[in-house]
Amino acid sequence: MYRWDFAPVLANADLLLQGLVNTLAVTGTALAFGIPLGLALALARLSGRRLLAWPAGFVIEFFRTTPPLVQLFWFFFALPVLIRVEMTPFMASALTFSIQSSAFFAEVFRGGIVSVERGQWEASRALGMTPSQSMRRIILPQAVKRMIPAFMERAIELMKTTTLVAIVSYADLLYQANEIAQKTFRPLEVFTVVAGIYFVVILMISLLARRLERRLAVSGESTVH
């Protein structure tokens, strides 16, 4: 019978905390760049101009269709050869997940924008607004409110996907777990605790998202049925 001993894990709690902070840092950075980039990609794809729509569509489809780990390897191992820059694990991770998540956010934005009724466009045109004015003042504010549930789901997916950065030795929570497991010879306890930490953090965000969803559903603004 295996005897569980969590003391070595607790002794390294500071490393785990540091790892969690790094996980949140890379998630936050990817969100900060991924959301505006996603909006830009969505607008380009919806612009109706082939010169904008086609490349945006390609970026979106490519990054949604290829495995994120392959993308991360490309940005970490291949890109530095091509442009001759020193690539830190954090830079490669932030770059990969900003672009990868922007492809998914673009589809969330597009879905939200498309879901706004035609009449809203016609009404804003009738008031004399240019298309970019109506997008900014009329369409986007309504679309964004509807997108919140899908958007939260994507953010949670992103946080789970950031565990891949451990493979290029960025010191996120999973990487720290691996280090501690090797140091203490207690992989069972370490990985169980770390799985538990991810579960608690992500479940809290999910529950928050669900509550928000329900409130939006009550006010009739959600796209989730």
Binding site: Y2, E61, F62, R64, T65, T66, P67, P68, L69, V70, Q71, F73, W74, F77, A78, L79, V81, L82, I156, M159, K160, T161, T163, L164, A166, I167, L174, A177, N178, A181, P187, L188, V190, F191, T192, V194, A195, Y198, F199, I202, L203, S206
Partner: protein, 225 residues
């Protein structure tokens, strides 16, 4: 600029890449079959009103949906061997992690699909003298699966992308082989570009097929009901 692209060394190792691709397809097939069939069982348990079935299924779904799949794989690879008296191979660990993760996600698809079938269908099959199990198998599931098809093909694409994570425990698949070739020939850029393209070219037709299925569903739903 001025990097000289040279794909020749990659194609010299085409046999190694092919061997990796077979590994990718093998783990994909295993996880697809295990993930979806176990997902159906869990989905039915989630649908059941019996607490003894419903409660464990809910805990399973919540746990596996709210933890990163890479953490699950590493748990099965490094932590589980402490508890069981046999060796855990990389394939076993990766297949367990990806299958259980996919089961949790597909369980929700199955449950949603079954719930979407009108109560009248249940009543009609009961009126014909079918037991609950018969009604589920003959009447409800065939209709539900048709509706769930786009979501299920999406899941399959996700499983395919997830299979790259098996390289983290050194299971021989496409990305793992790529890593070896890149470190032998110092040509990460060509190798990872070829691998990214291979995934894209393989998966994109599936993605398009899913879009087409979704459109067809939307049309038949609005026309048929």
């Amino acid at each position: 600029m001025g990097y000289q692209w040279n794909f020749a060394p990659v194609f010299e190792h085409a046999d190694a890449l092919l061997y990796g691709a077979v590994g990718t397809l093998r783990i994909f097939a295993i996880c697809l079959v295990l993930g979806l069939s176990f997902g159906l069982v869990v989905g039915l348990m989630r649908y059941s009103r019996r607490r003894l079935l419903n409660w464990p299924a809910t805990a399973f779904v919540e746990f596996f949906r709210n933890t990163p799949v890479l953490v699950q794989i590493l748990w099965f690879y490094f932590a589980l061997p402490m508890l069981v008296p046999f060796e855990i191979s990389p394939l076993m660990a990766a297949a367990l992690g990806i299958s259980l993760n996919s089961a949790a996600f597909s369980a929700e698809i199955f449950r949603g699909g079954i719930q979407s079938i009108e109560p009248g269908q249940w009543e009609a099959s009961r009126a014909l003298g079918m037991t609950g199990l018969q009604a589920m198998r003959r009447i409800i599931l065939p209709q539900a699966i048709r509706r769930m098809l786009p979501a299920l093909t999406n899941r399959a694409i996700e499983i395919f992308k997830m299979s790259t994570l098996a390289s983290a425990v050194a299971y021989v698949e496409l990305l793992q082989q790529g890593k070896l070739i890149a470190s032998l020939n110092f040509n990460p850029i060509e190798v990872y570009t070829v691998i990214a393209l291979a995934f894209f070219l393989f998966l994109y037709p599936l993605v398009r097929a899913t879009y087409a299925l979704e459109r067809q569903m939307a049309r038949s739903d609005s026309g048929g009901d």
